[in-house]
Symmetry: C2
Subunit: 684 residues, 2 copies
């Protein structure tokens, strides 16, 4: 085993051990009184039941793809696919299990010890997910590298691993997204709007499902998503390192031999991921240590700073290994680009624009919704320009390989980004539990503050995810072209030339453009439909259970019915959009050929980038505009006013935007990219 294999596997293993220690620490913390424990158990059981059902469906899917891959690309490919998928599933399992312990303990910590301890408890819970995601990802990739780095089918093995990771992420994100938003919207419509009872009120039978949703959507789904981003970025860079003409890699290390150069291009992404994970582990401990500072500032820094530390570390290590200064500059561009995209997201979802959205609520829900969509559309501009600049710089220094490397640089701090991302819904859940268990206003104020910070960090995290996704897909797209060419060269066929004015490419472009729309429509409709069913059931319970709405002591709602509705709906509705994402590139590739498939990828990329950014930022702006009004940001229009009701409508629209359709579309384009790359040899 060479040094890098060893380093990556050891770093991954250390990360998993740290994750285990956090897990144990969270589980040992006190759980609070009996009511709290009971509510937490409901939430945990609901979440685990959903995961169990989801995993059953995914097992069938994985078995089918495994068989297909074994038959076409061989057992190694099928095995790598299974490994990619399996590691995603266990990261999601342990991460979510930790989160469902941490939520109630965060509430108890807030009650017994105050904000700093609550913050640390929620962070510890999130860190389990963060470290599992990055640790398992690195172990998987490092393991493949250790075993197969000199194997002639290394490319296919790596691509298969990525397809395993991506397709699980796709289903987990869409299924979890439908669940969480259907429950959230359904509970809010009847609770907040119709019955005029507060959020998380124990009388509302939808509240448990809403809290389950935070776990299956924003934690398990998000974890699978980030794991996939991490894997796909590294794989895209490896794929380009393997297939680009050697002349196009020269700038990476101008003075080494050709063979060495290729080995360096293939190993660099893994090296960066290893450095990134090591930095992140340290970062997580530093973040915990800063628990007495204002949480908003600490967590914002925790997202922005680590990528730069990775660049610093890389600047110290890479030149000694023979890499050019352009390599370090490219990584810096990626890290800076990620930070800018994150900060712009932060701006659009927590500053000026949300005041305008709040203001527009004064003239009713119509103008609120118009303004929110406008904010979402506007928010696309600077991130895309930033990505164009990052692409330009990295292409200038390292060519197309540089674009993939910039994405790796952007994602180098994955473990800590994911920790902070998972922290948010844990705090949110903690708030829900404290409300349902009647812990009082002071406790709720602490969890509310932690939750509000979580909303912003979630938006910043999404900015990173989408930004890196765009660069990754650009790289995957180039890798697809190279892979087809490599196969054609081997067969003595002419190269694949993708002219933008070729009618095949142009028609592919238009066809690709409709795929994100279709996935958006299907997921949004699914949320609407499932939320409608939940609304009906909550209304029924309020109507038919005497004394429930009045809050008569001893009268309890039936939350499990809602949990079942949400679970069945989410499992059922995730199939169609997931199938489109996986099958579209296969069908287009085999029926219409690689030129049309390349156009399809490019069309899906641009439309997908626009829609997912717009939905993530618009959704975040609506959510925080509503919160702004609730905190008294609009003089004379407090919670319960018409303006507030208008803002709740906007938030309802934004919910599936930001947590279902937007993330679904952002994974769609990556799934299409890795699937295309995998089938490239078959359609060349």
């Amino acid at each position: 085993m060479d040094a890098l294999s060893y380093q990556s596997l050891v770093t991954g293993a250390v990360a998993l051990m740290v994750a285990r220690s956090f897990y144990v620490r969270v589980k040992k913390a006190p759980e609070g009184n009996e009511t709290m424990a009971r509510i937490a158990r409901y939430v945990r059981e609901g979440a685990m039941a959903f995961l169990a059902r989801e995993y059953k469906v995914l097992a069938v899917y994985a078995a089918a793809v495994f068989a297909l891959l074994a038959a076409t690309l061989g057992l190694l490919s099928a095995g790598a696919f299974a490994a990619g998928a399996f590691l995603s599933l266990i990261a999601g399992f342990f991460g979510m299990k930790a989160a469902t312990y941490a939520n109630v303990r965060t509430a108890e910590a807030a009650r017994a010890h105050g904000k700093p301890t609550a913050l640390v408890t929620a962070l510890d819970g999130g860190a389990v997910m963060g470290l599992c995601v990055a640790g398992l990802g690195l172990i998987g990739l490092g393991g493949i590298y250790a075993l197969f780095r000199n194997h002639e089918h290394l490319a296919t093995i790596v691509h298969s691993f990525a397809v395993g990771a991506s397709s699980i992420a796709l289903f987990a994100r869409i299924g979890g997204g439908i669940y969480t938003k259907a429950a959230d919207v359904g509970a809010d419509i009847v609770g907040k709007v119709e019955a005029n009872i507060p959020e998380d009120d124990p009388r509302n039978p939808g509240v448990i499902a809403d809290n389950v949703g935070d776990n299956v959507g924003d934690i398990a789904g998000m974890g699978a998503d980030i794991y996939e981003s991490y894997v796909a970025a590294v794989v895209a860079a490896i794929a380009l390192g393997l297939t680009l003409p050697i002349a196009k890699l020269q700038q990476l290390a101008p003075s080494v031999s050709e063979q060495e150069l290729r080995a360096m291009a293939v190993s660099l992404p893994l090296l960066l991921a290893t450095i990134g994970l090591a930095v992140s582990v340290v970062g997580i401990f530093i973040t915990r240590a800063l628990k007495n500072l204002p949480p908003a500032r600490v967590l914002r820094l925790a997202l922005i700073v680590p990528p730069f530390l990775v660049v610093l570390a890389a600047a110290g290590i890479l030149p000694g290994l023979g890499f050019s200064s352009g390599t370090v500059i490219t990584l810096a561009a990626g890290a800076a680009g990620g930070a800018i995209v994150g900060l712009v997201t932060d701006y659009y979802t927590s500053m000026g624009p949300i005041h305008k959205v709040a203001q527009s609520s004064l003239t009713g829900p119509g103008t609120n919704v118009i303004r929110g969509i406008a904010v979402g559309l506007e928010s696309v501009a600077i991130p895309l320009m930033t990505l164009v600049a990052v692409g330009w710089i990295s292409n200038h220094y390292l060519g197309l390989y540089g674009i993939a490397l910039a994405a790796v640089g952007m994602l180098a701090g994955t473990a800590i980004v994911m920790t902070v991302d998972a922290y948010g819904p844990i705090a949110d859940n903690g708030g829900g539990i404290s409300e349902m268990a009647g812990l009082g206003k002071e406790v709720r104020a602490i969890t509310d503050e932690l939750d509000a910070v979580g909303n912003t960090t979630a938006a910043v995290g999404k900015g990173f995810a989408i930004g890196s996704a765009v660069l990754t897909v650009v790289a995957l797209f180039a890798a697809f072209n190279m892979e087809v060419d490599a196969v054609r060269r081997a067969k003595g066929l002419p190269e694949l030339v993708l002219y933008l004015t070729d009618a095949k490419v142009l028609m592919g472009l238009l066809f690709g453009a409709l795929l994100p729309c279709l996935v958006g429509a299907l997921t949004m409709t699914a949320v609407g439909r499932a939320a409608g069913a939940i609304v009906e059931e909550i209304r029924r319970q309020f109507r038919e259970i005497p004394g429930l709405l009045e809050g008569k002591p001893g009268v309890d709602p039936q939350p499990k019915v809602i949990v079942d509705i949400a679970t069945s709906a989410a499992i059922r509705e995730m199939i169609a959009p997931g199938a489109i994402a996986v099958l579209a590139p296969v069908v287009v590739g085999f029926v219409a050929g690689p030129e049309v498939l390349a156009g399809t990828l490019a069309g899906a990329l641009v439309v997908g980038a626009v829609l997912s950014l717009m939905m993530a930022n618009g959704g975040g702006a609506w959510d925080n505009a509503k919160k702004h009004i609730e905190k008294g940001g609009l003089d004379g229009h407090a919670k319960g006013s018409d303006a507030h009701k208008a803002a709740v409508v906007g938030d309802t629209v934004g919910d599936p935007f930001k947590d279902t359709s937007g993330p679904g579309i952002s994974i769609l384009i990556k799934v299409m990219g890795v699937v295309s790359l995998l089938i490239a040899p078959l359609i060349a």
Copy 2:
């Protein structure tokens, strides 16, 4: 003068004479009682005042561009630009003037003679616009052809003409769109939602402005838009005919000499436009004659049938001139594609989907808006697939030139499409006037029916416009590449090769994607802001004018204040998005070069196609879902119910979608295409 020049100019002149006869006929019809005449005068004066102010701004813009073109590309180019712009302005002027006479006369015809006469009156008014648009367009293009067909700079002259047409259309559409929706949304919010008075109630000071808006947006703006589509499609085909390598035109007429082939490729679009206009004039008379049949059926046929008649005529004429059967098939594909896109639009805006949107109103405005957006996203799929199929077929038979020709085939019936399009807002205005003048329920029922049909035909018309826009831009895009190559060849430089995997092209693609978003955001924000100002003013009048809201006799609102607010806002707010559209390709082209500009065009095309289709169809679905509830489509939830109020919110969101941002984006991509084509020689 050759035969085709003669035929096109004569056909154009005949169309204008027919238009004049309709104009005279409309003006001679009785105008009704004094109240009606007074209201109509208010509307006419408001509309003409807007046009006068808009034209002043456009004159400054045109003068600046004229000077710029004269200095860079010569006086002929500047003159052609001015001609393209001027013809657009006078088509808009006469068309709108006719419409502002026809509206009140439609109401009077409904009162005195019933539905058939009212239908014919509205159609006659619309025909003035339809025939002016197509007649002036054909005279302009035919005149250029007659004068310059053998001129060495024919390409530049034709492109300049198109830029004149396109940029006027852009400003007219955006300015008119902001006006009409700001007034509509503003009047509705205070009138329907807050004060609970019916639409078009004379007490509402915003009603006159709303009716003015129908004229300046849906008639003058739409007219400029359709004129531009017509010109751009013909110009794209001519441009490709002039610049494509001769081998790529061979399939058009395999047996003729090279020189003759190019002449045929350049003249064919003009010939088709001439046939199309002749067919349309006949079609308009036939449509009028069918006035006793149900209007919905007649007008739907009037939109769908003419393109097929043009194909039939072409099938009779073209083979005799030496054109291949592939040419006729391509035209048929274009006509069929247009019909399919139109029918799909019809489906999404008047059938199943609107019931689902209506149904979703039962759970509130949030789910209504979510469903409407989902319908909009879903509605993108079949039209784009249809355009892919049309592109595929036409490319198969005639190469890239075929794609341009298919767009011409789709637009061949422009005169009648525009007639039916302009009919809608005339009927709508007629309804408004009959309401304000208190003509009673029976009259209102007639105008309501005519208006409802107009909503659907407007949606179908938009489908045609967007469908042809997509094909036209694909063709413009190819023409841009050819034009740059022609210049480079002349200079002895290597050809422009646009590889989809070139980082420059990819970065352009991402940059282009953000432009439609920015224009969408700016226009939507503009509507929101202007509507907000109007809401404040209407509220002020209701508050400060004693007896107004109670309907005390002799107490009148002050509509002119609202008209002024809307006019100033629209003129001010159209500048920024218009400037982006015109300047973006210029800046990108000169700063970053033709590869990036090509990518930018492609990125803007796909995102623009998706957003404009989504907005047009989603907007139509919301509007008609609301109407469906008003007509009693939801049992137990009539006008005024919570479900209806939720549907009104969706309609408010849909208003700027379908009439401001969507059309603005659809012109944006064409403006970018023609501007790029024009500057191609300068940046080659």
